[in-house]
């Protein structure tokens, strides 16, 4: 076992774990988008960043890729971390405003503004589907194409692939296409349905921190959406 400092507390962890696993083991919630327990960490969404280091010599690292070393000093919710996570989420929501997962996360992180024009893309390029297809389905039917802002996920040469068994695992694991968000209006990118409206459940649960999973009662009904 290795011991390290987690938000000021001395804790121990299995050296085989990565930092994210250890932090989650101690019950601290860190938002993630490209992480899945059954797949190799990829470290691209950067939502799981935490601050490591001492005093003035700290840096942000992606906890899903970072090993735990003896005496590591980790802060999971420092103001620098929160600010960075919010900025990343703001960029992602601007890319895919219709993702319920992102909108829920925005409510959770209390993201109040999106200062960019929406792109209305469907994919956040977290790469879960690519790793799912390769590692769990052993098919390698999809991968990345293009570079930079032109990057997208597709089958080889954008053609129907014989490697694809149409198992649907990619759709199963996709954090964006699981459910379309009903909230955001065309003019505002942020839904914030659950922080801007009076939750139906509030009288029953007091100040319950509602993240809409799985309740959804506060979300507008489809017939109410123009």
């Amino acid at each position: 076992m290795v011991s390290f400092m987690l938000n000021g507390a001395q804790v121990q962890a299995d050296p085989k774990w990565n930092l994210l696993e250890a932090v989650q083991f101690y019950g601290i919630n860190i938002p993630t988008l490209c992480h899945d327990e059954g797949l190799t960490p990829y470290g691209v969404c950067r939502m799981c960043v935490v601050e490591v280091g001492d005093q003035n010599r700290t840096k942000l690292v992606a906890s899903c890729m970072h090993p735990i070393t003896e005496g590591l000093n980790v802060r999971t919710h420092s103001s620098r971390v929160i600010k960075t996570r919010k900025m990343i989420l703001e960029l992602l929501i601007a890319r895919c405003p219709s993702s319920k997962k992102l909108q829920d996360m925005a409510a959770m992180l209390e993201l109040k503004q999106v200062r960019f024009d929406p792109l209305n893309e469907d994919c956040i390029l977290c790469g879960l589907c690519v790793r799912m297809c390769e590692e769990q389905m052993v098919a390698k039917a999809i991968g990345y194409a293009g570079r930079g802002t032109d990057r997208y996920i597709t089958t080889p040469f954008d053609m129907t692939s014989d490697e694809c068994r149409k198992c649907g695992a990619c759709m199963y694991i996709c954090p964006v296409c699981e459910l379309r968000c009903q909230g955001p209006q065309a003019s505002t990118t942020l839904c914030s349905g659950c922080i801007n409206t009076e939750p139906v459940c509030a009288p029953d649960y007091g100040e319950a921190m509602c993240f809409m999973v799985p309740c959804l009662s506060c979300v507008k009904k489809p017939e109410d959406v123009k």
């Binding site: 942000l60 690292v61 600010k83 960029l91 990345y144 930079g148 990057r151």
Partner: protein
């Protein structure tokens, strides 16, 4: 001929040196990239033909060398043994050079370099101010060897450091020597080379790799290619010494395919080194074996990043990975690897030969040795310069670089390529080393220096570099992919006069996130051009945002052209050249520009000899 001991190497060296007459006439033609573009291969061909036709081929040698550095004046021809320096030579000049200089020892005045300040004629290389202030430890050898001839390299004491290392030094001593020399990585990061070697040496693993990063992709940078093109054996020698110190038997050189001359010269060098027993099993009979492969990159900027480079070497897409576990422990194919830049490797033989004390005597407290910079942009003497660390920017730009052309004033210099920062005139007396540049918000990078004059718009410049990085980003992580896209959009808005003060705050937020959360060095440093221009030239940003005005007159949406009635002579040049026909007026009468038709191409501004065209 395979050399199997240090003695055989020395014997061969003596044989080569004694077989050469130092007083024999030799015409050296610069075959570097700049001179190639200037037509040096035709010059060389013409020299051969002319020598043949005059039956001088036996009496005069011809040597095609690597880059001499003074690219502005290329193609360069030097006549040895006197060392007469001829510049801007074209094939037509060759007959005269052979007839006067070679046959009669006369110097041709019109081909000499005339100092622009004093107007004096400079006959020899060492008389020229451009070279005088430099400390050319690495580049000097470029002028002395033909990169395709290993014997040339042996003649200038080449591979003697290797023989010394293999014969007399243990790996630990080599590492100690490099450590105490204070050599830091020349690729940009500036990590101490000796420490890197040491951690790779002590890393667990039976197979270890050494890698040479020759994937130089910065706009306006050509240091590494010139070393690899001009003196490939020095890089090879450095790599073999490094491999010996680390305990590696396999090396890779990752060079971009857009550098065909570098690829061909290093491949030739490797072939020759193998023939001489300097690469392969049992190098110089020492029992140590090492070989090198050349891998050609597809030209992605991000592949200059060490982990992306290794991914590319492995045959995967060139995308970086997290570096929390160091390359020295898990690098190429998850084996301990040591990656250094071309220039770093080229420094190694020198340190071994002349000692770490000598090397650490050059430079500043924290940065030792020399650094090669490619001096480009709005500067009189475009080219490669090598100076001791700690020289001031003023000396590099004004003394060596010859200042700004056209009598314009110096505004800023961008160091470190697209991920570096802009250094304004107020800091021009800053000494150049790793730490000073970092403090100023820039970085050493691989050594590009782009000089800008008063006609450069700093917002436009930041936009250019941000767009470059956005295009070259691999797109793997969110901060770099999405952040740079938005940063580019904001800067575009500002240059079009659509910016707001909130945009500045947003840029700062984005920059902070890029620096903190990006996966690799490309993203982490990507905000440098924007942040450094915002720091030193905030008034220009404000002029764009508040006054909708581009002070440098670059941003097309924010400028209008007009004709000054006082200065206009009615010559008709602007009218004749205006593509959309927006200018009207009778001959010898004041012309008028119709701003409705004007496409703001700026041709009228450039062609007017009377400064009658206004740009505001």
């Amino acid at each position: 001929m395979k050399l199997s001991s240090e003695k055989e190497l020395e014997d061969l060296r003596n044989e080569i040196i004694s077989g050469r007459d130092p007083n024999k006439l030799c015409i050296a033609v610069c075959g570097g990239t700049g001179c190639h573009a200037g037509g040096c291969s035709n010059v060389a061909q013409e020299i051969r033909t002319e020598l043949d036709s005059k039956n001088l081929a036996d009496k005069v040698d011809i040597r095609i060398t690597g880059c001499h550095g003074f690219c502005e004046r290329g193609p360069i021809v030097i006549v040895y043994p006197e060392g007469i320096f001829y510049q801007k030579v074209i094939p037509r000049d060759i007959k005269e050079i052979i007839a006067s200089t070679i046959e009669n020892g006369k110097i041709i005045d019109r081909l000499l370099y005339h100092d622009p300040v004093s107007g004096e004629k400079k006959i020899r290389v060492e008389d020229i101010t451009f070279y005088q202030k430099q400390n050319r430890l690495i580049l000097e050898n470029n002028t002395r060897v033909d990169p395709a001839q290993i014997k040339d390299y042996l003649a200038i004491n080449g591979y003697s450091a290797l023989a010394k290392v293999l014969g007399k030094m243990t790996p630990e001593i080599v590492i100690d020597m490099v450590k105490s020399s204070g050599l830091r990585g020349r690729g940009g990061g500036g990590f101490p080379t000796g420490r890197k070697w040491e951690s790779t040496r002590i890393a667990e693993g039976d197979v270890k790799y050494v890698i040479c990063n020759a994937d130089e992709g910065d706009p306006g940078a050509f240091m590494d290619r010139s070393i690899l093109e001009g003196n490939p054996h020095s890089v090879l020698e450095g790599m073999i010494i490094g491999a010996y110190a680390i305990g590696s038997n396999e090396g890779h050189i990752y060079v971009r395919n857009e550098y065909p001359l570098a690829v061909s010269n290093i491949s030739t060098a490797i072939k020759q080194a193998r023939e001489f027993g300097i690469l392969g099993d049992d190098i110089l009979g020492s029992g140590f074996g090492f070989d090198v492969k050349v891998n050609r990159g597809g030209g992605a900027f991000v592949c200059g990043e060490s982990t992306a480079l290794m991914a590319s070497l492995e045959g995967k897409p060139g995308e970086p990975r997290a570096k929390y576990i160091h390359t020295s422990e898990k690098g190429l194919w998850d084996k301990p690897s040591n990656l250094n830049n071309v220039e770093t490797w080229a420094n190694v033989p020198m340190i071994i030969n002349k000692g770490s004390k000598w090397y650490s005597g050059i430079g500043t407290e924290s940065s030792k040795g020399t650094k090669v910079f490619s001096l480009v942009g709005k500067i009189n003497n475009t080219g490669l310069v090598e100076v001791s660390m700690g020289m001031t920017l003023r000396e590099i730009i004004f003394d060596i670089g010859g200042g700004i052309p056209g009598g314009k004033s110096f505004k800023a210099v961008q160091t470190g390529g697209p991920s570096g920062g802009c250094i304004p005139e107020s800091l021009i007396d800053m000494a150049v080393d790793y730490d000073r540049l970092m403090e100023a918000g820039s970085m050493m990078g691989s050594g590009g220096m782009i000089v800008m004059d008063e006609e450069t718009c700093m917002v436009d410049l930041a936009k250019y570099f941000t767009n470059f990085l956005q295009e070259e980003s691999c797109g793997k992580c969110v901060p770099c992919r999405e952040g740079l896209r938005r940063m580019g959009d904001i800067l575009k808005d500002i240059t079009e006069g659509k910016g707001s003060m909130e945009d500045i705050l947003l840029i700062e937020d984005l920059a902070g996130m890029l620096k903190d959360a990006s996966l690799c060095g490309l993203g982490m440093t990507a905000s440098n051009p924007v942040m450094s221009t915002l720091k030193y030239f905030k008034d220009e940003y404000l002029a764009h945002i508040i006054d909708h005005r581009c002070p440098a007159g670059v941003c097309r949406e924010l400028i209008t052209y007009g004709i000054d009635a006082d200065n206009c002579t009615g010559c008709g040049m602007c009218k004749k050249n205006c593509p959309p026909g927006a200018i009207s007026g009778e001959r010898k009468e004041t012309h008028v520009l119709d701003t409705g038709k004007c496409i703001k191409c700026g041709i009228c501004y450039d062609v007017c000899k009377f400064k009658a065209v206004r740009k505001e």
